[in-house]
Point group: C2
Chain length 721, copies 2
């Protein structure tokens, strides 16, 4: 009878599913779809372990965890799940932090709790009074919340929940999104609509979206958010705005998420009425101290400041003849009494070092090693230029032994096709994280630098420049949600494999069907190499169009600063192409550990994927596969286009596993990606052909338009600029 | 057994309703919620008439109508509804346009079809071969679609579907939204996020939102949309953008919605390479002709152009010594061969007529009567200034006997509290529409002017400046959806009563429960008078803050043009307050018909609601209720605040009838409205008190802040500016 009812129900839900399609919002639900299990045996197994929920403790966080657990289980298992506050039922999921567990359970998980840190969790199958339960606990309540999401993910991904014995902790302290959101709600490099933060209606109107944002982040372990653009506006630090920030902090707090702000270095002048922002000026230091106090009165767990100083025209300590250490430490002293941190960005470049922009961050920051306050962490982009489709790892990683460095990844696809190209970024992130810096011998990977295991840093962190906007689907592209997800999972555990992440995300977001998972996972995994191929193969970089960065612009050469121009980076001429950063060039290679430098320095040992990053190479240079550089480059561009065509085929074959709305969305977007991949190929090859003077090799399609046509394209309202 | 299954289903749906709350999207579904009927008897009655759907014809429009009918009925009636293409079942809902009906049905509805126009519909209970059906038909397929929505509304509002015999047609030709959307997706006077039009991803990416937008509009009979801001950018007329416009037109077409664009008068210079935009220049005229042709090749049913010329700095024919007729007719000739229209706005003002801005539109346009081409319609704002909380009807209505005039309402609440104030605008619209112009004797209402019944105009229309953005709930405020809905309903039938509209909307959007409907409808109906009271009672106008128009600013007096300053409009001094537009003043009253002019002209006969619009009145003037003007004004401000407090109470009492998400949203917004109502009251009364020199009367709360405080408030990033 029961089974019968359920079948009717399933039928009717299916029906409702169809009938609601006009206003379907699967896209909005991200990886928290909580689809009903279609595998009935598995569902029965899960149900045999889950008769109810026992909630211990009554904080807001526990209540959130309980609601999430209950509603998700009800959706996935199609069964009403009761919630108790005492261990009254068999096979209960018991959730509560250590102090709220009864003595017997506490004893059972005592040794497990020693394995985790304050944000970690335990998920364990236990037997109490001969009755089996699953306990989800942690030292703090946020750990319980993370545990609940982790447990739900087991079911979402159809994993076993028998004999569970999981102890997991995040490997970094600060797992944070950087929103480059302006106060007018435009988003610098945002391709998913506009800022989530509706400043006009804050503090009194709390949008549902803030809550859903917090939920989504908590589900993947993100514990911090910088609300404002690094190109900062001082007004965010005025009471009018702090009141609004406070309201957001109150929403995010029970989800374990701290709020941070960007500090405009000249704020003491702009909103403080001072004549200077010199970090050595006592009035300036006191102004920041008072400002920090004012913030912490409102937001006791305020995270701290993220600062972009003396870069791309932003004010900073150098305006007053001071250096990064002076600036960062002054701010660090202001927030230190309250436990705040300063995330000081190493992304600096200026006209004083036009010989090689790639060298500047290392040149400015490495000598500062050991001079920063304890609550300063230097935030370093993954590569030395700027979030290109591929860059060698940044030479600062491992090069500062006494200063904690945090990773800055870009989740928003400024240089990787905006929100129209399907590119699975965890693959890029993993490549960077696994890179061996050799700075403390073999095995000194970037991961081990940023998780603090090499230099034993007290603070560790990973930042991701968010790809989130107010589009209905949050990220503009349904598959860009995977990059938000993947960033969070890697911030929690930077040793995770990107294939594992793809698998998890696809199952949570779409389907557990193997016939769907296998080809689509493969599509995700190769998607990053595809974009490298059709945009910047073989180590090419920074050849996009100017300002908006949309589409190819290798010909751009008229911008006032040399390092703004693509021609500065590719240096194509009759003799060849590429930026010579070897010893005979700018010697940027010397910023790496000797073991790495020697590999990059030599043409023969330099990995071909980084070839033109480090070397100016003759058009006739023979690549490992026997092709000349010109032919090889052209074939790479073609390969990128072919890969996108293959992605289209793969996706089209998945139609029956995906709801029609998302299926069509991705189909339309892949169509754009295919067009744009060809645009990149044709524009770049036509341009470079002027220098190589060579024909396109067999297998490379002829361009459909002239170089003049491509150069004439203008996009005055391209987003994110 | 059946009943039993349904009960289980209902229970489970309830359950799912709860569990999905984290990502609930009721807000997104507007008035198309299609809630399951809770009245079981009624449901049984409906089901006895609806055994299936018979679809006749196979156009996209009929397929859309069929899908909507099927899915909505399935949602509301919890029953699978089958769709056939032949009359095979009993009690079928038969949908199809006239030509697709079988001979027998055609005969049955023949006389009814004579009652409707091309966009109208018939809904009729018929008997064929002794079997009863309900036929929904029209002369064209779009009429069938309108009929389907109308039929669904009967069920949504729990009306009877026995013995139906409805013949309905729209009373105006052009029922159109004006989107003041810029190409960078900012929306001038937009308070619901940013533009729906994602130009970056068009034409290849069709957002689900475009489809849902079309659905929502079709459901209320809106048949046109101007995609771009009246402060226009010529780039929209370039091929790069026309390709995108074409894609939107393709989406909207099957929903009966035509696309229009704003034409920047100087476009021939900016994108055409011409030296002039003089409408008498042959090259200019030819350029527009070619441009029109280019557009119509892409979009054969393109609606035409909306033009703001020589107003607020926009270019126009006057730049070349020509007049509105020259400009409008030149454009009209360009679109005439393709059936396009020119909507030429009468909203003009310039420094040449600073004596009374209210007079300028009439002064410039009335003399042009009879000189416009047949495909020109002059678009007139409801009042002579600019969408204030209350204005007397515009004197142009009825004053042009040979020129069609269309109404321009503002749905977005530029001057009525943005998207944080609950104001039911159909009440305002109705007040304007019912105003008697007396231009062709008593009963010459504004409605009869714009529906063409007085002067027998060939083209008629109503435009509404949209309040739609990319917020999840479309309009920023859940109740602002009612203003979109109400605009559409009034555009279809300007004789509709606003109470009827409120009733319909509440039932479709929230609940049919009488205990909910009665108090909330009352709240809607009085909400417009509340905003007049706490912002601009007794005929005050244009005293908001500058630029963004957010909050009060009666003190503003430093703007370069006199008629930009609030002091120009209220003219408060020791002697009194108000703008003397009587014969002894600017004589603006003379622009009305004599019967109206005489009423407005005399202090004793002028309606008190318009008092300070037409008269400068002494602070001691005795109002009809015996209060002095000062006391009466202060009490009106207080009354407005009290009304909002009462709205809060009413809403709080409705909690059990509304989903928790929307309940809380409205609760938070009413809280803001209450704060801001007090802000308006306090700031305005403190300011005017400087002139009246009088104490606040008993019953008016003392201000909580000083005038200096209110004058110091700054909102640099207020939206829509």
């Amino acid at each position: 009878m029961k089974h019968n009812k359920m079948s009717i129900l399933r039928l009717m839900i299916l029906l409702l599913g169809i009938s609601w399609s006009g206003f379907s919002q699967k896209d909005y639900k991200l990886w928290l779809q909580y689809n009903t299990l279609t595998n009935l045996d598995l569902k029965a197994k899960y149900l045999s372990h889950i008769k109810g929920i026992t909630l211990l403790g009554n904080s807001e966080t526990i209540s959130i965890a309980g609601n999430e657990l209950q509603s998700a289980l009800e959706d996935m298992l199609e069964k009403k799940i009761t919630v108790n506050t005492k261990l009254e039922v068999f096979q209960s999921i018991v959730i509560g932090s250590k102090t709220h567990l009864n003595a017997e359970i506490q004893k059972t998980v005592e040794s497990d709790l020693n394995l985790i840190n304050d944000e970690g969790f335990i998920i364990k199958s236990i037997v109490i009074n001969n009755k089996s339960h699953i306990v989800i606990t942690g030292k703090k309540e946020v750990g319980v919340l993370y545990g609940v999401y982790s447990f739900l993910r087991l079911i979402q991904t159809n994993k076993s929940i028998e004999k569970l014995n999981i102890a997991d902790s995040p490997k970094t302290n600060i797992r944070i999104l950087n929103h480059w959101d302006n106060l007018d709600r435009t988003v610098e490099r945002g391709y998913a609509g506009f800022s989530l933060w509706n400043w006009q209606k804050l503090p009194d109107f709390i949008e549902q979206r803030y809550i859903d944002y917090a939920r989504a982040n908590a589900s993947i372990g993100i514990n911090g958010t910088v609300l404002t653009n690094v190109n900062a506006n001082a007004l965010i630090l005025t009471p009018q705005y702090l009141e609004k920030v406070e309201a957001l902090a109150n929403v995010f707090r029970p989800y374990g998420i701290k709020v941070y702000l960007t500090a405009r270095f000249s704020a003491p002048i702009e909103i403080g009425g001072l004549k200077t922002a010199d970090p050595k000026d006592a009035d300036v230091a006191n102004w920041w101290k008072a400002k920090a106090k004012e913030i912490y009165v409102r937001i006791p767990d305020f995270g701290g400041f993220l600062v972009k100083a003396n870069s791309e025209g932003q004010p900073g300590p150098q305006n007053y003849g001071r250096n990064h250490v002076d600036g960062a430490n002054m701010l660090a002293d202001a927030v230190a009494p309250f436990g705040g941190v300063i995330m000081w960005r190493a992304f600096v470049y200026s006209e004083h070092d036009a010989n090689d922009r790639a060298k500047q961050a290392h040149a400015e920051f490495q000598p500062c090693d050991g001079k920063f306050r304890e609550n300063v962490i230097v935030q370093v982009k993954n590569g030395a230029i700027d979030f290109q489709p591929r860059e060698p790892f940044h030479p600062l990683f491992g090069a500062m032994t006494k200063t904690p460095l945090m990773m800055e990844f870009q989740i928003t696809q400024e240089y990787l096709g905006f929100s129209t190209h399907l590119v699975f970024l965890p693959k890029l992130f993993q490549e960077v994280l696994e890179s061996d810096t050799y700075q403390k011998g073999k095995g000194s990977t970037v991961t081990k630098v940023i998780d603090g295991s090499i230099y034993k840093n007290k603070i560790t962190g990973i930042a991701g420049v968010a790809n989130i906007g107010n589009d209905l689907n949050w990220t503009g592209h349904p598959f860009a949600q995977a990059n938000w997800y993947g960033f969070g999972r890697l911030a929690w555990n930077p040793y995770l494999d990107s294939e594992t992440i793809a698998d998890e995300w696809l199952r949570c977001t779409f389907s557990n069907d193997k016939k769907f998972i296998a080809p689509i996972k493969e599509m995700l995994i190769q998607s990053r190499e595809a974009v490298v191929n059709y945009m910047t193969p073989l180590g090419l970089h920074h050849i996009m169009d100017t300002g908006h960065h949309y589409g190819p612009g290798p010909w751009v050469s008229n911008l006032s600063r040399p390092e703004w121009n693509p021609v500065y980076y590719h240096k194509a001429d009759k003799n060849g192409i590429g930026f010579d950063r070897s010893k005979s060039g700018t010697n940027a290679v010397s910023q790496y550990a000797p073991e790495v430098a020697v590999i990059f320095d030599k043409l023969e040992t330099c990995p071909e994927k980084d070839l033109l990053w480090f070397h100016h190479v003759s058009w006739d240079y023979k690549l490992k596969d026997g092709h000349t550089l010109w032919d090889g480059m052209a074939l790479k561009y073609q390969q990128g286009v072919n890969q996108v065509a293959a992605m289209q085929k793969t996706w089209n074959a998945s139609e029956k596993y995906v709801d029609s709305e998302r299926f069509k969305e991705v189909q339309m977007l892949l169509n754009i990606q295919y067009k744009e991949a060809k645009w990149w190929r044709d524009a770049c090859l036509l341009y470079f052909q002027q220098f190589s003077g060579k024909e396109l090799p067999i297998g490379v399609e002829k361009p459909s338009q002239s170089l003049e046509y491509f150069e004439s394209l203008k996009f005055p309202f391209a987003p994110g600029n």
